[in-house]
Symmetry: C2
Subunit: 299 residues, 2 copies
């Protein structure tokens, strides 16, 4: 399940709770598009803002509405104690895999991060994907540490940050590959650089936009992994105005605003203090959507 397009949907919510109806609609779109896997409660799913009960509910809904598509559940938390509880909840609910980032407040040491993964993997029997995202966790993995963690029994994939250009991405993938077992896949994130990552040797795209527009993201993934990089690049270039908005405002605020504008979810949809775009930025995004005319099939 750690190859192809892994789509990360939003968890629509307001200050009173999760909008379960809207979440189910987003999940149905992904099931209907037949993405390769669904990653709920990733950064795009605002996992870190939800409590244990809410995270369990999202997990249950994802499994219920996935129509057999493999489900990966984000189990990250600041404290190991909480990660272990979330891991147990995900496994009991029937998740196919879990995603774990070394979320930090106090800066973590390599030894502390390794112990976290060692402890959590010992408690699990389903596969784990290592979530490497320094922009949110403030933790930077060395390749040595990646190699050490990737040799733990149930580690099957590493989700790496995007690299902007092909040569750097190829070098990054080759360097990391030299440190980890052959059967551990490398998946790229950072949607604007997904095609670069896939053509440079990543086996999966852990995708934000794929959680909202699965069809075009599947098409890009198939082209890139099938050796048709020109086609993949052309499709990604078509989405360039969205990638620019991602870089300016953060991908979460942008996809939440798109989903609000398209009427897929209500406004507000993000946990305060986070807000979706308003004013000029929202207008700009509306204009981009009108230009691109991306399909929003209703489920």
């Amino acid at each position: 399940m750690f190859t192809g397009l892994s789509a990360f949907p939003l968890t629509p919510m307001n200050e009173t709770g999760i909008d379960e109806m809207a979440l189910v609609q987003l999940l149905k779109r992904l099931a209907s598009a037949r993405v390769d896997s669904i990653g709920v409660l990733g950064s795009t799913g605002s996992y870190v803002y939800l409590n244990r009960e809410e995270r369990l509910r999202v997990t249950q809904l994802a499994i219920e509405y996935a129509e057999g598509i493999p489900i990966m559940i984000g189990i990250s938390a600041l404290r190991t104690r909480d990660v272990l509880q979330l891991a147990e909840d995900a496994q009991k609910a029937g998740a196919n895999a879990v995603l774990l980032a070394p979320v930090s407040y106090q800066q973590l040491t390599d030894d502390e991060v390794f112990s976290l993964y060692e402890t959590v993997t010992k408690s699990l029997s389903i596969p784990l994907c290592v979530y490497d995202n320094p922009s949110t966790t403030q933790f930077r993995f060395s390749d040595h540490l990646h190699g050490h963690i990737a040799r733990l029994p149930i580690v099957h994939s590493i989700k790496i940050p995007g690299v902007p250009d092909f040569d750097s991405a190829k070098q990054r993938v080759e360097q990391l590959r030299a440190h980890i077992p052959k059967d551990v896949s490398i998946g790229t994130s950072g949607d604007p650089y997904a095609v670069v990552g896939l053509t440079a040797g990543c086996e999966a795209w852990y995708s934000v936009l794929g959680g909202l527009y699965p069809d075009i993201c599947i098409s890009i993934t198939r082209a890139a992994l099938g050796g048709n990089s020109v086609n993949a690049e052309r499709q990604s270039a078509f989405l360039a105005p969205l990638w620019q908005m991602f870089q300016k405002y953060g991908s979460l605020r942008v996809v939440a605003t798109i989903a609000e504008i398209q009427g897929l979810i209500n406004n507000p949809s993000l946990p305060l203090p986070l807000k979706s775009l308003d004013g000029v930025a929202r207008q700009e995004l509306g204009n981009i959507l009108a230009d691109l005319q991306l399909e929003i099939p209703l489920c």
Copy 2:
């Protein structure tokens, strides 16, 4: 209460819960030393790793054992919803003030951070101290934003990061002072630079070491604020080996390890994945403590 030495004690804990007996001993030391205020559930109090019930319990114990010394409670959380609950808990329990940092996972905008402070201050009637600590929150305040927030009714102080040298600290304090109301105090953190901050115009020292060794930290604060900067510098220089350990391993790990070595708290005392120092680093710290011969009066 936002002047002088504000001492931030550890919250000793293990994976099963808070060590209340050990916490009470730490609180009694501070009450006995007559620090100017006590800041529980700051970064040194590991607030972010505790759940709501645990934070309420620490709050109640602090108020019970403070012997009338003003108590400030850290109410920070990633989500506004949770901050509001913690603010209510602190106020109901009888706290004298609260401390609020813009903790982030997704990078926050200035507008989001202002709205957070606006919402929380509207819900409170006790004073609030703004906690500016980019190394843990990943949020950098502009002076304009500080000024905007400092004009909210119940904001009484700003806890700023330490600045290493006197000229930069003086410039920093003067620049910030130009943006905020006269009655909002500025307090320094970053213990190694406390004397620099106090002699450069800060009215308070929000202190990590003060939570463990209140006597020498009171003495340093009195000297620095009383115009005897040579004496303050001499005392701070005496502690230089500890400041070097703070910079190398993080102040939280170092004070936790000191308290463990001195038998004030049990080992482990930090929430996993965080660990106190072991091996060579612990040995080095033990040697420093033996050299310094800092008093640990038993309460």
